[in-house]
Structure formats: C-alpha cells, structure tokens
C-alpha cells in the first residue's frame, strides 16, 4: 500500500495576505503604492483645483504669443516679435552651448590636473592639490560671480580702445579685442559661400519665400539654419580622416606581414589637410576682424563676458572634481601594470597613455557621468551673470511676463530632465565599450 504524501491542499484565505509571510511583503508594498498614488493624485488635484480657483488653469497657449523682449546671445534667428516658444528654444540652445563647452573643457583640465597631482614633482603635485581643494570647496555660484566681477573690473571698456593713443589695444596682431563686455575674435567668412540650409522649414510660410530674382531666403525661415559651407568642410574633413584610417590599416597589415612599418605620416596628414585647404580656398575663406564702430566692436565673433564667466567658472569648478575622479581611477590600477609595461621598455608617458589610462577609464567613466550632469544642471545659475539660458528665458522673463509659473517651471524641469537623461545614455553607451569584457 503506497501512501501518497501530497501536501494538504490549502485554500487561499484573505487573512493570509497579512498573516502569511509568503504574501505579507507583497501586501505591504501594494498598500504603500496605493497610498503613494493617492497622495500624489491628491496633490495634483489640489494644485489644479487651486489654480482654477485663482483663475489660472494650466494652459500652454502663452507659448504662441509674441515674447516682446530681446535676448542678447542668440544662435538662431530671434527678435522681440518672436514667440515665447522660440525664446525658449534660444535659451535651450544657450544652455546646451555652455554645457557642451563646459564638459569638454572640464574634462581636459580635469585629466591634466588629475595626472599631475600624482606627479613625482613635489611642487607641481602640491599646486594641483591647492587648485583642487580651493575650487571644489567654494560654492560654484561664488566662482561664477567672482569670475564675472574680474572680467568686468579688470578689462578695459570698449571706449578705452578709441583714438590713436588709446589706453587699451587689441592683442594677437590686432585681431582679438578683450573688453569688459566680452571677447571679440575674428570670424571665419567665405566670399564665395554656399548660403544656409533651413532646417524644419515650412515652405509655405512667408518667411521662407524666395525673394524676387533669387537669392537666399530670410534668416527667420525654419527652426534654425545650417551653414552649407560648414557642412561641406566637415564632409571633406570626415572623408580625409576616413582615407587616413585606411592608410593606417594598410600600414598595420604591411607591418604584420613584413615587420617593417612604412612611413605614412606625410600621406595621412596630406589626405586630411590638402582637400580641406583646397575647399577653403575655393569658398574664399578669410577672417573677418572686429572693429570698433560706435559704442561697440562690430564684426567678428562676440563671446559675451557672461558666457565666458559661466563657462570658465563651471569648467574650473567641475574640473576639480573630475581631477579627483581621474586620480582615483589611476590609483585603482595595480602597480604591477606599470612595472610590467616598464619591463617591456615603454617610456613613462606611453605607459600612462597606453596602459594605465585605458584601464583607469573603467573606473573613471561612471562617476564622470554624474559630473557632466552636475555641470549641465549648474549652468542654470547663469542668470547670476545675466547669461540668457533656459532658466533666464523660459523660467525667467517669460514666466514673469506671462505669470505662468507652474507651466514654465514644469517645462523647464522636463527639459533639464531630458538633457540629463540624454547625457547619461550617451555616456553609458561609451561605458559599455570601455568596460572590462569578461570572457
């Protein structure tokens, strides 16, 4: 006689949700989730209700209205008659510009300082320590304001450049003017340029009508316009680098077969430089110099002191953190690696660039991402120096002129969130590539 020992069938009772340890944790989580959702819903509902009572229900139609204010730094066409939406885009581009410039500069400075902090040279190492400690221990807002104050107070005003025996003069063969309103540098110009290509243009809109007798469409056509000259030059440069990489691969192949590496540097340099120079000559490339006309310098590229102050302060501040990250990354690589590399006969700078840094990157990249995010978010302090970024336009003047606090701030938060997530995504992709591949 065989006894089947099937477990007693237990029917599910409601009480088990609380008393049975198998279900209890799930019950608690679900209850907490419901509670959280109710609270969030109540907050949202309360907000909407109170806004309705105030007579200000959520409404984004103000974005279509004419903004009415001017923005000094605009990388796309904008005037005071443009919409609040366009002012928002102008601000967003300014934010992206300073964040992009800042991230690059901060990375370069950070890596150099981080490596030098480990230098055997006592003085250099200590100087770098002083730099890191001063910058990361003072709030970034103070650095921004301080940099701006230095620019304003120490550099000459444009009117000091006037006259034959002026108090101030331009530098670098009279091509660059450093004033307390910003730096004026020569701009690249093309006497036989190809014109601009409007992006996201609505062909039927009056702004995009081709003027009689041909010629370029007006600047206000499309969301923004891309210089065809720039595209052409980038294309030629890209092709040059591609051919250059083919030559390198061929050299690698020959080296693998014969052991001798053919000298290719002049070929590789040539395929990049010669076509680019040819295109520049064909387009009639020349530099437009800034000149003092009226109240200000005219012509050239105008880097406003607000941009410079913000860029410099954000870069130097974030670089101090990046330097520490780089130092930690390098120290994380065991000494055996550099000793092994030295035993192979590599020089110390090649040990650093070929052996240590590639491995250190695995440690460096993840915290570096958060530094990039910090820099981007810190750029919202721009209004302290009057840099018209997204916070200055959308969440500043537009908010003030339209009184739409909730809408503008929500939009601003959403934009910063999107930018941060994009940076994270890109950097995570890069991290995937450099991280240790386990076989």
């Amino acid at each position: 006689m065989s006894i089947t020992t099937a477990p007693p069938k237990e029917s599910f009772r409601l009480g088990m949700l609380v008393y049975d340890t198998r279900y209890r944790s799930i019950t608690i989580q679900i209850v907490a989730l419901i509670g959280f959702l109710i609270l969030a819903g109540w907050l949202v509902n309360n907000t909407l209700h109170n806004l309705a009572v105030l007579g200000k229900p959520i409404d984004f139609s103000f974005l279509k209205d004419s903004a009415g204010y001017d923005i000094n730094q605009r990388l796309i066409d904008y005037n005071s008659q443009s919409s609040h939406w366009r002012a928002t885009v102008v601000g967003l581009i300014n934010t992206l510009l300073v964040a992009f410039l800042g991230c690059i500069t901060a990375t370069i400075i950070g890596i150099i300082v981080g490596v030098l902090r480990l230098s055997n040279n006592w003085l250099v190492a200590r100087l770098m320590t002083v730099y890191v400690e001063t910058f990361r221990n003072v709030p970034v807002l103070l650095w921004i304001v301080f940099t701006m104050a230095i620019l304003i107070e120490t550099l000459p005003a444009p009117r000091d450049f006037r006259g034959d025996d002026s108090e101030a003069s331009m530098v670098l063969f009279d091509s660059v003017a450093l004033t307390n309103r910003g730096f004026y540098v020569p701009e690249p110009m093309f006497s036989r340029g190809l014109g601009d290509l409007p992006i996201l243009a609505d062909r039927s809109s009056p702004a995009c009508a081709v003027p009689e007798g041909g010629g370029p469409v007006s600047d206000s056509c499309g969301l923004f316009q891309v210089s065809l000259d720039l595209l052409l030059i980038l294309a030629v440069l890209g092709a040059g680098f591609y051919v250059s990489s083919l030559i390198r691969k061929r050299a690698d192949r020959i080296q693998n077969q014969t052991g001798d590496r053919p000298t290719t540097w002049y070929l590789r340099l040539g395929v990049v430089v010669i076509p680019t120079v040819a295109v520049l000559v064909l387009l009639g490339f020349h530099l437009g110099r800034p000149e003092l006309k009226g109240f200000n310098f005219q012509g050239g590229i105008y880097l406003r002191n607000s941009l410079i102050a913000l860029w410099l302060a954000l870069s130097l501040y974030t670089a101090a953190f990046i330097a520490e990250i780089v130092r930690a990354g390098i120290l994380a690589i065991s000494k055996g690696q550099s000793e092994a590399a030295a035993a192979l006969g590599l020089r110390s700078n090649r040990i650093m660039s070929l052996v240590i840094l590639p491995q250190a990157l695995r440690v460096i990249i993840p915290p570096l991402i958060s530094q990039y995010l910090n820099l981007t978010k810190n750029s919202s302090l721009a209004i302290a120096v009057g840099y018209m970024d997204l916070t200055g336009t959308l969440m500043g003047i537009t908010l003030n002129q339209t009184g739409r606090e909730l809408e503008t701030v929500l939009m601003g938060m959403l934009v910063y969130l999107s930018i941060s997530l994009c940076i994270s995504a890109v950097m995570n992709l890069y991290n995937q590539r450099v991280k240790l591949v386990e076989r």
């Binding site: 105030l54 204010y69 304003i152 009117r159 009226g294 908010l399 003030n400 339209t402 009184g403």
Partner: protein
Amino acid sequence: MKQTVLVGALALAGLSAGVAGAATLDDVKARGKLNCGVTTGLTGFANPNANGEWEGFDVAVCRAVAAAILGDPTAIEFVPTTGKTRFTALASGEIDMLARNTTWTFTRDVDLKFEFVGVNYYDGQGFMVPKELGVSSAKELDGATVCIQTGTTTELNLADFFRANNMEYEPVPVETDNEAQQQYLAGACDAYTTDASGLAAVRATFEAPGDHILLPEIISKEPLGPLVRHGDNEWGDIVRWTLNALIAAEEYGITSANVDELAQGTESPEINRILGTEGSLGEMLGLNADWAKNAIKAGGNYGELFEKNIGEATPIGLARGLNAQWTNGGLLYAPPFR
C-alpha cells in the same frame, strides 16, 4: 484631529498657492503683522537705513496701511522681492501687499490676476549715460549696450523703443539695481535704463553724480502703485483708501503735525469724515474709526512723504511734476470720502 493637522500641514507644504485668498484682513489682524513686499533696496523708495529699519517712499505706504489696520506703523514684516519674484510672492500669499515700484499694466491687472489699488508715483522709463559718452538723446543710442533689470516692463518698452526707431542694441540683463550699478560704472554697459525716478535714486548714490546725465526722452508711461491679489475686494479697499487718505490729507492740509488737533473735530465735514469724527467710514472698511488718522500720523500725508524721501531737498532730488495734487496741475486726485 491629528489627521486633520497632518493633511493641513501637507496642504501648506505642497501648495499654499491659492489657498490664501479670502479674508486677508483677518489674517493680518490674527498675525499682528502686515507682510509687505518691497524692493531689495532702492534708495528713497525702499532701503534699510543705518539702524536696519526700512524706510522710503514705498515703505511709507506699507507703514500707513499697517497703522490703519493695527494702529502700529512698525508692525510690518518687510519681504524684499526682485523684479522676478515679486508676483509669485504676492500670488502665493507670502506677502499681503506689494509696494515695489510696480507698473500698472493691463496684463498684470487682468491676466496675472492682481488688483492695482492706485498710483503712488507717476513715472516713465528713461536712460542714464555717462557724460563723457557725449550722447544727448536716446535716439543716438544705436548699437549701444544697455543694462536692464529682468522681469520688468522696462524690458518690453526697451525692445519696443529700439524697434520703433529702427535701432540695434545689446541688452545686458541684470537681476538687481546693485548689479546694474556695478556693470554700468565699470563701463560694461553704455547706458542704464529703468524708471526715471529709479535712475535719479541710483545716481544719487554714485560717488560723482554729476558725471552722469539722464537723457531727455521718457519712452513709456509707468504708473507705479501698490497692488494686492484678486479675490479679496475688502482687503483691496483697505489698501486703496489708505493710499487715497494720504493723498486727500495733503489736499485738505492734514499733516502729521496737526492731525491730532484736527481729529478733535473741525469745520470741514470731509476732514471729519476722513479722521473718523463724523460718519462711519472706518467701520465700513472693518477698521477702527481712527484708521486714517493713524495712517497719516505714521509718516505724514503724501506731500510730506514725498519731500522726506525723494523730494528736492533729498539727494534724489525729484520734482513733484506729474505727482503734484490736481489743484497744482498734477495728476493726484483722491476720490471723495463720503
């Protein structure tokens, strides 16, 4: 009971906006203090003095209102606001009234849901430039760099003015008057633009005020006045009629010096009604009968406040101009107290 407190605290923490609305008068009385929004510091209009007490032309309006309600011109919590934060502060109930060189415009009144209770200074936007620039008219400012406070009507006027005259300019946005002064004095901007009264006030604080001139063009109308939120008309009435009482007091010759004497009763029924010895105007406002007497005693009538804070005897040196009584060819005209 506990639950109610919790929900109440959450409501307060999350969204105080809009919850404050009705019965501002009761709130002020219960608090024993008036929360008044002023500038972060503009000499003559609102600025802390050496003892840390706020004083100035706009501050005086706050003090008069506090005196009318609470009988004490010092029962005030001054909240410094910038051009950007002022409206949010008022709409959210952080302040009960705003007396901060604020221009009365259609959108602010209608779209931003505020109630302008009157005008305490008729102003217009002007430009200040250094004398050495050699500019004598705003029409010569083509291509100039102009410092401007963000979040103000001046920003829009400036854009309109340069567009209408087909001129280019470079705006340099700044947050406060102090930043503007720093940039302007260092030559980082050629001109500074704001309300003409503000320019005079700023120039008065310079080391060498004579080196700077105000250009003759006044490019806008800027009626500056105190304002309150929409939705509490009784509160708006109190602030409106306190301001009117100050203006009427000058017209009828009631000063801080003789107000006690006049409050014993006079021949003039209008003065009696204002000072509460006749009729029941104070009661209608929900205040004591001597509300206007207290308001006038706080700092004096409109004329006294003007002369003391921004008049010709002060470093700011503003003439009455448009801000004279209607009887003297100005625009000040208080409706009748009856």
